[in-house]
Subunit: 445 residues, 3 copies
Amino acid sequence: MINAIVLAAGKGTRMKTDLPKCAFPILEKPMINYIMDALDKTKVEKRIVVVGYKKEVFYDLLKNNCVFATQENQLGTADAVKAALNYLDDGITLIIPGDTPLINYEKINSLIETELALKKDITILTTFLDNPTGYGRIIRENGKIVRIAEEKDAYEDEKLIKEVNTGIMVVDNKFLKEAIHKIDNNNFKKEYYLTDLLKFTTDIASIILDDNDILYGINDLYALSRVEDMVRRNILKKHMLNGVNIINPESVTIYPDVVIEDGVTILQGSFISGNTIIKKGAIIGPNSELHNANVLENAKVKHSVVYDSRIGKGATVGPFAHIRMNAIIGEGNRIGNFVEVKNSILGTTTKASHLSYLGDSEIGNNVNIGCGSITVNYDGKKKSKTVIGNNVFVGCNSNLIAPIEIKDNAFIAAGSTITDNVDDNDLAIARSRQINKKGYAKKYK
Amino acid sequence: MINAIVLAAGKGTRMKTDLPKCAFPILEKPMINYIMDALDKTKVEKRIVVVGYKKEVFYDLLKNNCVFATQENQLGTADAVKAALNYLDDGITLIIPGDTPLINYEKINSLIETELALKKDITILTTFLDNPTGYGRIIRENGKIVRIAEEKDAYEDEKLIKEVNTGIMVVDNKFLKEAIHKIDNNNFKKEYYLTDLLKFTTDIASIILDDNDILYGINDLYALSRVEDMVRRNILKKHMLNGVNIINPESVTIYPDVVIEDGVTILQGSFISGNTIIKKGAIIGPNSELHNANVLENAKVKHSVVYDSRIGKGATVGPFAHIRMNAIIGEGNRIGNFVEVKNSILGTTTKASHLSYLGDSEIGNNVNIGCGSITVNYDGKKKSKTVIGNNVFVGCNSNLIAPIEIKDNAFIAAGSTITDNVDDNDLAIARSRQINKKGYAKKYK
Amino acid sequence: MINAIVLAAGKGTRMKTDLPKCAFPILEKPMINYIMDALDKTKVEKRIVVVGYKKEVFYDLLKNNCVFATQENQLGTADAVKAALNYLDDGITLIIPGDTPLINYEKINSLIETELALKKDITILTTFLDNPTGYGRIIRENGKIVRIAEEKDAYEDEKLIKEVNTGIMVVDNKFLKEAIHKIDNNNFKKEYYLTDLLKFTTDIASIILDDNDILYGINDLYALSRVEDMVRRNILKKHMLNGVNIINPESVTIYPDVVIEDGVTILQGSFISGNTIIKKGAIIGPNSELHNANVLENAKVKHSVVYDSRIGKGATVGPFAHIRMNAIIGEGNRIGNFVEVKNSILGTTTKASHLSYLGDSEIGNNVNIGCGSITVNYDGKKKSKTVIGNNVFVGCNSNLIAPIEIKDNAFIAAGSTITDNVDDNDLAIARSRQINKKGYAKKYK
């Protein structure tokens, strides 16, 4: 059995939030979930997550996806591993800190495969740093690793060594269960260091990490932001390599679970989150925000906000439109500037080009919603529904007082407040006659 | 005669689009046009563009600006040059790949001038790379270039050489026409390499490129994005050196053909494209998009979108305004939030401060368009025109049903739907009397 | 007495503006104010600012915060210091250029303290540059500074020296007053160099600067932009270390005087300036602009613009809202899309969810402003006030013609233009009856 212990008990005081450090989100996704997602792609068969500070948070985040072990007091990494011992099955165990969201599953697999092939007590992941200050140095004799020297405990000549510990290793469980109890806390910080495992064996292998980004310590919101930026760039790069064209990626954020087909263009300043899906040929931005949006082929969304809604094929949205709460914008629709569509279903080739609000409505095909028209869905007590048939023309600045039904081919005169249903082919009008008062303008100006 | 052969026959499979690689746009302008624009500033007198995959695309892009030669099969750079031989005039020829949009015309001129002065068979542009992997290494003996070793064919000690081929050279046509036919494809990739020209002469000069950005290979959309970023930064730098103040340039994109006078300020998140012109003292942004806009002196455009339109001197637009389709915003106008102006001409010191739509209209000087007022330009069948004179006051939430004319000094009462013309100095009103129903509010709440 | 002389007489020709160089703003704050703010945190007791070109600009910027000395002609840094001599009190003097906005007050204090401790004629701030070209090199003999060699006057072997002058020093006033008059202009540029002070003493101490960013010369708007970017990043970093969560900081600008509490989240594309204050738990952005805004606890401002206004606790604003000119948005309000609020006071839990304009109004608690409703505050002659009580329901597309008062619990029917006051609990309606014309729609379509 290949086990993994993920160390997530720490508090992260300098983050200045109530969340435990490894639960802090990076682009909306908690740090530990990046690790769990990476583990999904490895040979790891069982995961034990060691929690401590605010452990309930992790119960929510990870649900049935792992076994939880509790470290009561934060006495060091070896102490954390001790808390997980009882949950280990026979075999080998990957040990990994929970604050390394940039870890790459292929590297984890290499580490596991090296251990499986060589059957060492420990296979450790090391790396080379130009400036190793602060990291545990890898002390080798005749090429073999003999020890790790923590910064505070290292000799001056050892401090010159550039090969350092990444904190990630695979261990043989039999060795681990014996050796872990021999580790003491006779050191500067009075902590039990997991790296002291190396004191009790010389049967050690190692592999080298190529990409040192994962070592960037996340101890405050500035460091988090640096790592978030790396994650953000990795996501953008993945999409670009898949054939997505992104204009000024510096200004664009795409969250990890967004799906984008090739042939999509994302323009400057776009912010795309949640479970958004964008299909071929769509153009998003500049400055659009999409959250849980489903944007179909060749649709355009400019300077607009779309939440929990669908934009039909070839539809254009914006600039300055707001589509939300399960709105379904039909194929070939035009939703123009200063239009809000909420919880409504629109048919094909329907237009609402300017200054309208369509809420709680069902609207047919080929309807023209005039500028300034409003579905009056709220009367102070309850919300009601507006139903509009096909080929209806709603004149400008009309009010459709819901509940109401406007049937196929009807025509609503501009400036009307419509309170009663309108039948097929009928014209509805509700406005006053114009009176021109000769020379009266002066009185008012 | 100074000829140039531009190599543009390649497909660019990893770009994942149907466009041939050298036609792919960088900030809206096809890659090859950057080369052609650079050549415009050089001594090159005749250009032959070698096309192959989707050659019609280039016919459209380049029109009469060059001669086209066709490479039927992509058998390597020497094969591409062969396709162009018949079009060459006597003299010398610059050979340049079509995917080097960052090339600088001064460097091309230096290369040509070196060839003209030294009359060598070949004058080649080389450069030094810290990591030369993948590039053809320049093999010198006693300082003289004798050969180029491609990565796949280079000896181990040659691979340590840091001087590499840029792919850009000037050749003597007489030499070229003889030597090109001697090149074979006995190499790893079974291609005809243009660099093999160096096998047939020792009469070679070279000059060194200072800026290696142009070597960045554009083979996928990620690489394209990296080059686009370099182009973007170069454009911004040019404007800043000319006296344009740009706040947070990381978030700003300005397309290559935009003209901006000194004394302009561009704020964060602005996106400026097409043939936009911005005059002294104007302030653009934050978050404004301009496309083919003409923004006159001291105008301000905040959080707004302007397409194919003119913004008059000292006018203010936005936040959240949309000006489009040949709109002409007059001097000193104020176009405020949630206002759309389409295909309209406005006089001086006219205001539409909030929530209005002005479409297909002609509006005089010193007009006040009240909040929520709308030109009702579409009746379901056709679009009609609204004409408003000088000093007119249009009350809030009015509808002006086009075709209609409101003459000078007229006054439209708020909430009126105006269907008939209004004469000079007249007041027009079309609304119902207010009735207050004592205590009736309860019924509704 | 610890004096400081700040050198601000230069013009800065390449900035291409009329402002003197040291008055040019970096994130809205003039460069010299960064120096003055840093001096505020040092032991400096008296400041003399040497002005010349457009000196009135500095009189405005700095007011009573310093003494001004005038350099009539720009004859070099020593000449500038001469202009300040008469204003110096006994003791020591810090001399600092006015175009070093990144200077750090702790470093200034170290320099002053070194001078106070060692009582040298000069204590100079030096630094090491990989590429020292253009800077005055520090010439030492047996470790002691003996001279500064300006680029133009340096010997070839001196040019290899990487220790350079920062232009910042502390001098003993007695020494300064004697030596300054001995400086001549027998050099390449015919200027009086302050660094020549070192010719007249060997009693020199030095300390070393750690962060070379401050040396970045600000001579054109591109260089200014680079420094502005450093200032911008420093500000963002400070906020993140304080517990502010910033998503995609590359796209965010926060001006220097903005105050943000921990627990705030700032999303992509936000632009925050002036004396804005943001309290715990607030979420700003994406793409929001705040200027002199006061955003209280847990409020949200999305895709919106707030100027000179307050957003109450837990209120939500946007997307696409505009709050300005002393608007006070009440606790728990919802100001939705395409809503402008100007110079108005709103009570608690009041809503204006869509397409409204509230100007010059006083609105109570728990009011519902229907979609498209407008306070008609301008009649072409003057602005008037709208007063709305508590629990009022204003129906959609209503006009409230100010001056007007709508009392508690009143109800305004949708589509009404309200010209007269409405009493407590009354319903007001002003609209025409709807007429449905059988089959008439065809006529219009």
